[in-house]
């Protein structure tokens, strides 16, 4: 069973953190990612540029509307994700709890809707 772990945090607060702390977090992310690769849970994952770099696209009546910024202004923004394979929700949430970002912001755990599944 696959789950998408979406890591949300406050971009502004994240950017304001001291350099040493950021470096420490990066090292923790490296170790976490290595860990889930070794355990066979890892299917993919990336860090995202801040929401201020986002562009939102809509198509209405055949016309493409392009706007600057994320689709919704919220206090916490999607900052990265992991796609994992886990045997059930308990394993998925246990993995989510080990993501360094869970200590600053939060991690939303969503089951993947597999093609053809009702």
């Amino acid at each position: 069973m696959q789950y998408l772990l979406m890591i949300y945090s406050n971009d502004a607060e994240y950017a304001a953190r001291p350099q040493a702390e950021v470096a420490q977090t990066m090292a923790e992310y490296g170790a976490f990612t290595q860990g889930i690769i070794q355990n066979g849970n890892y299917k993919g994952g990336e860090r995202l540029r801040p929401a201020s770099m986002a562009t939102t696209v809509r198509v209405r009546d055949g016309k493409t509307l392009t706007t600057d910024g994320p689709f919704a202004e919220t206090r916490e923004q999607l900052g990265g994700y992991y796609l994992i394979d886990a045997k059930n929700l308990d394993e998925a949430t246990a993995i989510a709890a080990r993501i360094p970002g869970a200590r600053y912001g939060c991690v939303e755990v969503r089951p993947i809707w597999a093609m053809g599944e009702a």
Partner: protein, 412 residues
């Protein structure tokens, strides 16, 4: 063979039969449908053949076969593979027969932990537990919680859909998570109990059933996990509160304070059972469970000859322990009330006022209510009147407003 007899067998066996069927069928909803099918067959057959010797095993076996039928009927090209797998799973499990008690107990625990999974919201946990574990109908649960049957049905459908699609495991959590997860189960059971115990008007009878179901759940959980002190503590707490039920309100639904209750109406056998459980719970090493400490306080009250002859010193000490385990304004106020019985109303008033200054408790009616009581005892009537009026304006439950109004009127 009356329909009533059959109903009571269904009611007694529904939880365990469903728990076993979920393991066999591997899906909550299939298992529920299968059990309903089995009930339908039983309703047709039992009045003629009699209730089978092992009714649960009979229901599980019929349900298992019905589940296979249903899966075959539902099979379409799109779901063929999934359904065939499901059918293979069911067939792979041997028919149950006279299943070992331990196996059934494990099934039941798995069911309880699934229904009380933290990935479900509290309302959903409560509804699902009452439906699946206690075997209450959707209509019964809806009426007890004063919501429409349609709303309750949707709540249950959504919860079951989440169990399936997010793959909430049908498992007893492993040791690393067990403590937290037991706390979650206990919180759900206690919520069911307090829903039944809260004295709101109207549906008193239905609500009373909720308290009984909560106690039944507590007993079941203790039977399944006899070593867990927190479970002993919760069951003790519920038994001790419930033992005083007949004495705590007038026929008209007005609250009667502990000091004015007719202690002759308290259920002595239930108090003895609760008190014995508290002792067991507190003998366990490590930090006591907050439920056990609350139960110990309730036991001291329940065993006291009168309000004045209560062991207030020990009660004040237990509230102090509870405050450290679980700081909350309600507990702080109860602590102050106990202190007033040991060190007098002025000492307690100091505690209450410093609590009011320390924490944001605007809008919390118990703070002025307790202040008012203490002011009366200090003979500061004008200030007491102001405090009672403040409390009345903030109280939300009608019986509480009426009780505070009577206190105010008594001041003249």
């Amino acid at each position: 063979m009356s329909a009533g007899n059959i109903e009571s067998v269904f009611r007694a066996e529904a939880g365990r039969a469903l728990a076993t069927l979920i393991r066999l069928v591997g899906d909550f909803e299939y298992a529920e449908d299968a059990l309903q099918d089995a009930f339908a067959v039983a309703l047709a057959r039992w009045p003629v053949d009699g209730i089978p010797h092992n009714a649960r095993a009979w229901l599980v076996e019929v349900g298992r076969r019905k589940a296979i039928d249903r899966i075959r009927r539902r099979t379409s090209w799109l779901h063929k593979q999934h359904e065939l797998q499901a059918e293979a799973t069911i067939k792979a499990h041997a028919p149950v027969g006279d299943a070992e008690e331990q196996v059934v107990a494990d099934d039941m625990l798995r069911l309880i932990f699934t229904c009380c999974h933290p990935a479900l919201n509290m309302e959903a946990q409560v509804a699902l537990t009452l439906r699946a574990v206690c075997g209450l109908s959707t209509g019964e649960i809806a009426r007890a919680f004063l919501v429409g049957e349609e709303t309750m049905a949707q709540r249950l459908v959504r919860a079951k859909a989440k169990i399936r699609t997010a793959k909430i495991p049908y498992e007893t959590p492993d040791a690393s998570m067990l403590g937290d997860r037991i706390d979650g189960v206990l919180a759900t059971i206690y919520l069911v109990f307090t829903e039944g115990y809260a004295p709101t008007t109207g549906h008193e009878l239905l609500r009373r059933d909720l308290s009984r179901e909560a106690i039944r759940l507590g007993r079941l959980l203790l039977q399944l996990m006899p070593e867990q002190a927190a479970v002993q503590g919760l069951l003790a707490l519920m038994l001790l509160h419930d033992a005083r039920r007949d004495a705590r309100a007038t026929a008209g639904g007005d609250l009667i304070r502990l000091e004015d209750q007719d202690r002759g109406l308290w259920d002595r056998a239930q108090i003895a059972e609760g008190a014995a459980l508290v002792e067991q719970a507190l003998r366990t090493r490590g930090a006591p469970s907050p439920y056990a400490v609350q139960a110990a306080i309730a036991a001291l009250h329940a065993q006291a000859k009168s309000y004045l002859e209560t062991d207030w010193r020990q009660i004040a000490g237990l509230y102090d322990v509870l405050l450290r385990l679980q700081p909350s304004p309600v507990i702080a106020l109860n602590h102050a009330a106990a202190v007033s019985m040991v060190d007098g109303p002025q000492a307690a008033l100091n505690l209450v006022d410093s609590l009011g200054a320390r924490e944001k408790l605007d809008g919390y009616h118990l703070l002025p209510a307790v202040r008012a009581d203490l002011l009366v005892r200090l003979d500061r009537k004008d200030e007491a009147r102001v405090a009672y009026r403040e409390a009345i304006a903030l109280a939300r439950l009608e019986p509480e407003q009426r009780w505070l109004q009577r206190r105010l009127d008594a001041l003249g």
